[in-house]
């Protein structure tokens, strides 16, 4: 197996990872950044075929590169039990990654919740639809409804609109009063406030509902008929796309394999973003959903801490804590309501890989039983979709994480053991 060596290995090239890489490299550390995408940027900085890479992303990436950080794409971590030697897979099969310190900047994934029709083509995630559009999906003139929860709904609606989509409605499950209170809280954060107002401005004319959520989707000819529960009763819309995402869930799989402590679906870290495993740091959405500024200040803190610049890291941690408080406000505002637990009908599929209807889970006590008795989470995605849904629906924590983190062929699996050729 080929091998790449570095002092600091950063997994994930979103804002948190790039900030950590730039900072550590500027402090003289030898840094390698890997990501399973072909381009750096993560979610929010994802390069668009139409509009390119956002300028703030260019700035951070430029800093990292001029400080000598190396990037290797696409590489996805497949196994990790020793934090100084991870195994990743790319286009040419497995490769070993050796490092002294490890920064996990794995980002987050969307939480999907099952409702009748959620698996029909044309129904997808909110971030998922945005990613498709950035990769070139022709959305111009297409009718889109956006549902679920969180500021992501607005951000994506605005960006889809700019790509020419007709956004027919935004359905936010959180109550209007809570969202308004959250907005008022932004008065203390002029940057975020301006960003929020800018979004609303870009969304002028788009109906925005609160206390509203999708209840079912059916195919009607060549379009989808989506039904929503709103404060004014049922609403139906005929659309080409329904994007539905119920908040973000930290990606923690690599951390889980390494044995880092995970609580409340996120990796536990200290002031310096150190996890419970020595020389393993975690930053950005991996330690909790708090937005891009939090990700950047986490990254800076971790970069400094990796370089042993404790005093500076402590100073950076102050900004980090402020941003993390914003994350707490986000979590309070967009907490999912109980009614969403009852959206699925008995025959609604919960596990898309294995076609498990939710009724099959009636006698299961936890995620492991759901898997062993009803095949839920056994398929290629290994519970990455149904796991977060069941965490909300039933309060079940995820079943144990095992390698490989991505499907690998048997040959690749057996190559994981090959001694590195030095």
């Amino acid at each position: 197996m080929d091998e790449l060596d570095c002092e600091v290995l950063v997994v994930g090239a979103g804002p948190a990872g790039v900030a950590a890489a730039a900072t550590a490299a500027e402090c003289g550390r030898d840094v390698l950044v890997v990501d399973d995408n072909r381009h750096p940027g993560g979610q929010i900085w994802r390069r668009s075929v139409a509009t390119g890479t956002p300028s703030i992303a260019e700035r951070w990436l430029g800093r990292a590169q001029s400080a000598g950080a190396r990037f290797a794409f696409p590489l996805r971590i497949a196994d990790a039990h020793d934090p100084t030697r991870l195994v990743a897979v790319g286009d040419d099969g497995p490769i070993a990654l050796r490092c002294e310190q490890l920064v996990l900047a794995l980002g987050a994934s969307e939480r999907f919740l099952p409702f009748p029709g959620w698996t029909i083509p044309g129904v997808c995630g909110v971030g998922g639809l945005q990613a498709l559009v950035k990769q070139g999906l022709a959305i111009r003139g297409q009718r889109v409804a956006i549902a679920g929860s969180g500021p992501l709904l607005l951000a994506v609606a605005a960006s889809l609109r700019e790509h020419g989509a007709c956004v027919l409605g935004i359905f936010e499950q959180a109550p209007r009063s809570r969202v308004r209170r959250f907005g008022l809280g932004l008065l203390a954060r002029p940057g975020k406030l301006a960003h929020g107002l800018g979004l609303l401005n870009r969304l002028r004319g788009v109906p925005r509902h609160h206390d509203a959520w999708p209840t079912r989707v059916e195919v009607r000819g060549s379009s989808l008929r989506a039904t929503f529960r709103t404060t004014h009763g049922e609403r139906t819309l005929d659309v080409d796309w329904l994007a539905a995402g119920f908040g973000l869930v930290p990606n923690v799989d690599v951390a889980a394999l390494l044995g880092c402590r995970i609580e409340d679906e996120r990796v536990v870290v200290d002031e310096f973003t150190r996890t419970t495993i020595p020389d393993v740091f975690a930053v950005g959405e991996t330690i909790g959903i708090a937005g891009v500024e939090a990700a950047l200040s986490d990254g800076i803190t971790a970069g400094l801490a990796c370089a042993g610049r404790d005093a500076d890291a402590r100073r950076a941690a102050r900004a980090r804590y402020r941003e993390r408080r914003f994350g707490d406000a986000l979590a309070r505002t967009y907490a999912l309501r109980d009614e969403l637990r009852a959206l699925a009908a008995p025959d609604t599929v919960i596990c898309r890989c294995e076609d498990t209807p939710i009724a099959d889970l009636a006698h299961c006590a936890d995620a492991r039983e759901a898997k062993l008795l009803a095949r839920c989470g056994m398929g290629p995605c290994q519970g990455r979709v149904c796991g977060p849904a069941l965490a909300f629906l039933r309060g079940w924590s995820r079943d144990s994480v095992r390698p490989p983190l991505v499907p690998l062929t048997f040959s690749e699996l057996s190559a994981l053991d090959e001694p590195p050729c030095r």
Binding site: A365, R368, L373, P407, S414, D417
Partner: protein, 377 residues
């Protein structure tokens, strides 16, 4: 607090579940105490191959009866029963001779077998390597999904009045009584200890002879690849790996699942209890499989896991009363055959409990058997 129940079963793996079912059907008032969740330990890790084995007369008797009981029962679809049969694969002339010998041995005992030459083997399993010499086909072996089978057995037991209590951990087992971690003491006319690997610890210092050690195994499952293999395929050298004395070994063992997936085993590491996937064992196992199924390397693997087989020094489970605690019956130590032998174990336990003529010679499995005596006797 004390309570009385006719029979207490400690442990709800497949062995405990089968015992609960058999005892409940016999009219015992059964109470099952399971530390965690039913079927969540060794039973959740196993391959679910239900097979006859000729390792010894004792092993044969237990597997044969076990397999026949599996066949005789109606299983719900969730148990994924597949009557795919086994093919023992012979790599060379010597192994093919051994296959012929086994075929005769089995035939003399009424087991349906068929000898396959190289051509017939390839017709039966086109993905097998062309250079292989032949195989022994055991038509009546089957494949099942152990966790759902365990759930079904417990449901049947409940239908006969059994009480199944998950999340109840037993600390120590005495003669017709148990003490739980929460200090509850329960007594009963009969206690069946089916706690797998944990059994010796529960019995305290008592029977030194009752040694159960872990044999760790790795398994890897593929994404759906229907028809890649059609029978459970095992190399004839398997028993050398399974019951040989070596600390680490691998053997080729490939199983078609009803889902169309392929489940690949098997490895054995004695006294290793750490659940981590070990890449050297995994690599050795896959390399072994590639000698038989050269194109297996291109199948996508979804998940690798490990499990601990509860193994005894003579490869036979303990099934019998404790000599110094006659109201307590042990049913543990089934190594890599506990799915197959769960039902026959349960029948023997129920026979012993009712003082009926046992379905199988119980001396083979007695807790105080002397290995040397049985081997030479």
């Amino acid at each position: 607090m004390t309570d009385v129940a006719d029979a207490i079963v400690v442990g709800a793996g497949i062995v405990g579940a089968a015992c609960a079912d058999a005892l409940a059907q016999d009219g015992w008032r059964v109470r099952v105490l399971e530390r965690a969740r039913p079927g969540g330990r060794a039973t959740a890790a196993g391959m679910g191959h239900v097979l006859v084995l000729d390792d010894s007369e004792a092993q044969f008797a237990l597997t044969r009866l076990g397999r026949d009981l599996w066949r005789a029962r109606d299983w719900p679809p969730s148990v994924e029963r597949d009557d795919c049969g086994t093919i023992w694969v012979a790599a060379d002339d010597a192994e093919f001779d051994a296959a012929r010998g086994k075929s005769e041995w089995y035939a003399a005992r009424g087991v349906r077998t068929g000898l396959l030459d190289a051509r017939a083997l390839r017709d039966a399993e086109p993905e097998l390597h062309e250079g292989l010499r032949g195989g022994l086909h055991i038509a009546d072996d089957l494949v099942v999904h152990p966790p759902t089978a365990t759930a079904h057995l417990l449901a049947c037991a409940r239908a006969h009045g059994a009480l199944v209590e998950p999340l109840r951990s037993v600390r120590v087992v005495g003669d017709g009584n148990v003490e739980l971690d929460d200090d509850t003491r329960l007594s009963a006319a009969l206690v069946v200890v089916a706690a797998g690997l944990d059994t010796p610890r529960l019995l305290g210092h008592r029977p030194d002879a009752l040694r159960i050690r872990a044999k760790k195994g790795h398994l890897v499952i593929s994404d759906r690849a229907p028809g890649f293999v059609r029978h459970q395929l095992v190399e004839l050298g398997y028993l050398k790996s399974a019951h040989g004395g070596t600390a680490r070994s691998v053997a080729f063992n490939a199983q078609p699942r009803r889902s169309g997936q392929l489940l690949l085993g098997s490895s054995r590491q004695v006294d290793v209890v750490e659940p981590r996937v070990e890449h050297d064992m995994l690599a050795a196992m896959i390399a072994r499989a590639m000698r038989f199924l050269p194109r297996i390397g291109s199948l996508p693997g979804l998940r690798v896991w490990t499990g601990l087989r509860p193994s005894t020094d003579d490869n036979l489970p303990f099934i019998g009363r404790l000599p110094d605690a006659p109201r307590t019956i042990v049913a543990a130590g089934h190594e890599g055959l506990g799915i197959t032998t769960s039902l026959s174990t349960a029948k023997l336990v129920a026979d012993l409990a009712a003082d009926r003529t046992p379905c199988i010679d119980p001396r083979w499995f007695a807790c105080d058997r002397s290995t040397a005596e049985l081997a030479h006797g």
